[in-house]
Subunit: 280 residues, 3 copies
């Protein structure tokens, strides 16, 4: 892919207003993550204003982590505005496998064709399963097990699907990337994935979503690597992570990104890939 | 009591899914606390899914800090599922003395017989007063002043009641423990008590609730002591506390826990206890 | 103005119970900020109890950042109780320029005559514009551009209006102060302004709101300066800020406050003020 640092530089220059309808656990961290990377966050959910506000935003992220019917309807309102304005939006199907409510809401959001869907492997498998295109939910699925489902889902929505894990995967249904940046401490801190959605949305403003998403994933994971070196545990990791996001330069991202073109198709032999290659 | 470190080891091995319906202030910290100790947190409240989700969880905590009627009903739904499945749940009656709404909701939750009730002395006194079993609310009550009310409350619910304070008290109405771990900085940081509820719930999975609660209180307070040594104030205390929770070993908990058997009865002579004894 | 440290000392001695109806992003940080300065925070919003609880509080802050109609009505309920009890309350019109919903709610809250209105320059201009007293909203307005609107707004409400920015401005419509404390990192962290509202409310208990607000702004900005010296970015700034608030003494506030009497009137020549003068 093209230089990921150029995506960071462009996003910072744009400083996009990102509208987020996310869960209560994530709101504060997500706002701070977006400020740290150089975007402008807003959290707005009331149906009385959510569509009007979405009309002002350059990108949107929606997350069903603590949704209820009113918040779900607000997500649909805002996503429809983004679609009408041809602006990017990101959908995070948190825990979609757990309840019928989440499945119904996810089905409605998926029908609005998100620019990017991002989740963990189990969520992507569950989401693909909603359309009868892939198998059911397994807790603790591997990224590799979800690659085929991600491709099918991307072809269905016409957008991009990202699977978070030890090595992330992002695909538009035809092409794909693996992103090897990140650190195990990121899984010991809550809402790291939720907050990433806003970053992806910011990167997608004025850019092709496949490469923009890959660049966002690399930037985020790289900041996690930097923060982990300074951290004594999941607590001290958090301020260090925001510091690392804010201090990251395009040059550092180019130097540290570990992105490679993914082999597509049903039979992906990850074990044979050998050492990870930085493809920047 | 038995070795508190064994409770920590068992909880980490189980890594229980803890369902929390808590207040907006606590959600993020509580999720991070549960991740740090080694449990798996989830925040779910919508009535459309709360019962279904509770069926997946191994333990539940409910907290009325920012409740409204819908959230209160969700708490009742989820608690009923835990009861039907014989799984533990913890009830925190935040500010129950302040308003009639909190008293009514607390009365309904109490009638569902929580496995553990945890609050500060004033809350436990107020809660016991709802049943006409003890005196009214005094702001700034001491733990010692609430011991009799805690015992009465425990006998009424058939569960365990924990009173947080400089030296915690936990009782099942017949037996009890005092836990002397902790640090004054913990009272200068918000939602320390709220987040503890989830830890207690996690410890109660597959264990007797009296000893499990005492072990959870000792572990939490000990992490606070460790964090306070590294902290320059209530801000730097918070990341240090999460680091300390994550780093705590069963051996360190056994060595640092300060738990003693409490003398029961109306006349508890705390002053005569002399130096605190580690009873592990 | 009088010694700002005396305001801090009085507030800490009072340790006022501050009732906050704020946005979801701010709740945790705001509670920790209020604990750090020495006040007692409570977050209560349900209509079933909000008026009853407001009757117990010594001050109130309301913030429309993530409001919906129910929360807005709760703000009106609580503000009416404060007015009936002659207790101070602070109104933060977050993003009032963005949507009609925010304008309608802000108009209703303004009609209740808040003790203090605090916002950034664009918000104060938008708010003044709701009454037809000043020009419309410009994104990124300077504090200086909003001074006339702030004065008009203060005369309309009979209260105090504070404009946050590189150099804050606070006025009661006749007299005013500029407060030069602060640090650019404060704009890279979310809810710094929201959390300040509670501090202002706490300072206003038992004090004239103009000087109390100026003292609160100086204290808050000074803590930001101290924290920035210890911070490596917006992440590490946050714990350092809480530590600095908690450690600040009245003497340190007197020594570090940079408050000067503002020239009033339509033509304020800020450039000619020369070096900032500490007026303590």
């Amino acid at each position: 892919m093209e230089n990921p640092g150029s995506h960071l530089a462009r996003m910072r220059e744009t400083a996009p207003l990102v509208h987020n309808i996310t869960n209560f656990v994530a709101m504060n961290v997500m706002a701070n993550v977006l400020l740290a990377v150089g975007a402008s966050p807003a959290m707005v959910h009331a149906r009385e204003e959510v569509g009007e506000f979405a009309g002002l935003a350059q990108a949107l992220s929606v997350n069903i982590g603590t949704a209820d019917p009113d918040w779900g309807a607000a997500m649909e309102d805002a996503a429809s505005v983004m679609n009408a304005n041809a602006r990017p939006w990101v959908f995070d199907p948190v825990g979609v496998g757990a309840t019928r409510f989440r499945q119904d809401l996810s089905r409605r959001l998926l029908a609005l064709r998100p620019t990017v869907v991002r989740g963990n492997a189990s969520e992507i498998l569950a989401l693909a399963g909603l359309s009868g295109k892939a198998r059911g939910v397994d807790a603790g699925d591997s990224v590799e097990a979800a690659m085929e489902a991600a491709q099918a889902l991307a072809r269905e929505t016409g957008g991009v699907v990202a699977v978070s894990g030890p090595e992330d995967y992002v695909t538009d249904g035809a092409r794909g990337y693996r992103i090897a940046n990140g650190h195990p401490l990121m899984a010991r801190v809550t809402v790291m994935g939720c907050s990433l959605n806003g970053v992806i949305a910011a990167y997608c403003v004025g850019a092709g979503p496949l490469e923009a998403t890959a660049a966002a994933l690399a930037s985020y994971g790289l900041a996690g690597e930097v923060a982990a070196r300074a951290a004594g545990g999941p607590g001290s990791f958090q301020p260090a992570f925001l510091d690392a996001l804010a201090a990251q330069t395009p040059e550092a991202l180019d130097a540290g990104a570990r992105v490679r073109v993914a082999s597509e198709g049903a039979q992906v032999s990850v074990a044979s890939e050998g050492a990870r290659t930085s493809v920047t």
